[in-house]
Symmetry: C2
Subunit: 322 residues, 2 copies
């Protein structure tokens, strides 16, 4: 593959794969309780706009679960998915995310020919890489495409990261994602990470992906930076819907990509008609508490707790708590 030049992002690169994870990442804001019509609207928009993959939820262990505590998109059983997409006779590929340590992957993921899913995305923290490797092999052996999301990379030291990338480079994953779970990356840091990932991934014949969060209003900017350097697997969500401050907005991403494969209009309509009406209830998006967890490179849980208080909090005291 040729080295991308600075002009490439204004042109287009056929290797780019756009993945919509609205329902999966957004599910972290409503315990995965999306009505079918919302999932269907996102699915239809993905199909109509030429998006490559749609991640429809997690596949999580159903052992010891409390019925009704989480919506069905936490488990993504085949019958739930088919209720929305049928046999998915479209060019759109479907993915699920399987979290290391939270998925009985050997039992819960059937052989590919029994599933409407195309891609299994394995998510892990750095200490779970050996487990992730087994999950990747399991998925590939069953016939799926696989990728790996190494989460919370801003908390991982260089030495540990390089060890992880050495292990992942020869794995079954077809792409390794730079995942800024805390929304703490500046573009300059994204640049260095993507360059490092590319070095390992390309040696293993793999692609690099980017999954950004918007705590510092930099999700899109970091995504542009990653694309300009050669990252080809790009996560985005409708209206940026995702945990906390949310993700890189799909409407911005498709506005950037010049590949005639992609159509912006269906995404605009999905955002305006289906996703924005959920904003008040779900409460994702940039705000001061999420900004502060990003700024201090921390999990958004403190901001989630701050925002869940019945009374408006004291932002000065919250700032002092870091």
């Amino acid at each position: 593959m040729s080295t991308p030049t600075s002009a490439d992002w204004l042109s287009h690169r056929s290797e780019i794969r756009v993945l919509d994870c609205t329902i999966r990442d957004g599910g972290l804001m409503n315990n995965h309780h999306f009505d079918d019509h919302v999932v269907k609207a996102v699915y239809d928009a993905c199909v109509a706009s030429g998006i490559d993959y749609m991640e429809i939820g997690y596949r999580a262990s159903r052992k010891n679960i409390k019925l009704g505590e989480h919506g069905c998109w936490k488990y993504c059983q085949e019958e739930d998915i088919r209720r929305v997409v049928g046999e998915n006779a479209t060019a759109l590929k479907l993915s699920i995310m399987a979290d290391a340590g939270k998925c009985d992957y050997r039992e819960d993921i059937p052989a590919k020919q029994e599933s409407v899913i195309d891609l299994v995305r394995v998510a892990c923290y750095v200490h779970q890489v050996p487990l992730a490797l087994d999950m990747l092999k399991d998925a590939r052996d069953k016939g799926y495409e696989t990728t790996v999301n190494l989460m919370a990379v801003t908390t991982v030291g260089d030495c540990e990261l390089e060890a992880a990338l050495e292990l992942l480079a020869p794995s079954e994953a077809q792409a390794i994602y730079v995942v800024d779970s805390f929304g703490a990356l500046y573009p300059l840091q994204t640049r260095r990470l993507v360059q490092k990932y590319l070095q390992y991934a390309k040696a293993g014949g793999k692609e690099v992906g980017i999954h950004a969060h918007n705590n510092l209003q930099l999700a899109y900017a970091n995504t542009i930076e990653a694309i300009s350097l050669g990252a080809n697997y790009i996560d985005a969500t409708m209206a940026g819907l995702g945990r906390g401050a949310g993700n890189c907005p799909m409407e911005l991403l498709l506005g950037l990509l010049r590949d005639p494969q992609y159509q912006l209009r269906p995404v605009l309509q999905c955002v305006a008609e289906t996703i924005e009406p959920l904003r008040h209830e779900l409460g994702w998006g940039f705000d001061l508490p999420y900004m502060l967890t990003g700024l201090f490179n921390q999990h958004p849980r403190a901001a989630i707790a701050y925002n869940a208080q019945p009374e408006t909090g004291d932002i000065g005291a919250f700032f002092d708590s870091f």
Copy 2:
């Protein structure tokens, strides 16, 4: 001055000057009808946080005005400013913006010793550069600091821009701003513009500034890019309050700058307690219509009209109109 390195933006650079233009740019969303307590809260936060300049509004011609149509911050008469800031016995400097063609600058701007204002910022379009030069000279002759905002730079061809910069380089302005009025710049384009401005400005002993809009959620990213290259005059607003999609948020900017001169906490409190409560009424911030005017490099007026409709518009039809 030394060439900045990529590490500089994580350190600090004493040449940086932060300018708050919340009331000035935000005034475009409410016809400059800010209550004094809002202006005072922004002023107090600027003082407490160590911000260098606060732009309190425009100084515009009062010929043929309809009384009450615009709030007093469109004119910034000395008595209005002093009602809020007294004699401004603080380290914060105050600025007004004077638009070329909209200000009777010879009469309406008194000698510096009669004014509580420190800096006169001249704003012009490229065809108004000769007028701006006269305004800059007038302001400097009267004893003020002056800078120039060359507006809507994304609509200016390279050849015209270079001619404008040649004229502005030897002018009285102490800084020349890259102004992305339409919020249409990507960081790569910001980089090229800032480099070009620096080339002319440094030859004339001047600084370069950046004034960004957030139509593509890139106001902060473009501001970071400009800072990393050596731009030292940085515009931002509380909660990003400004025309349309708004500006680079001050809370993000101060979160980035490591100079102990700046304190984030007073800005957080001003945003949470004074500015965010205005959001519903003023309606600034990123949305799909503002995104589209930015994407298509157009003045936000079409988005403003779309958002002012009594019924929710059809975003697909709006997209088709470009």
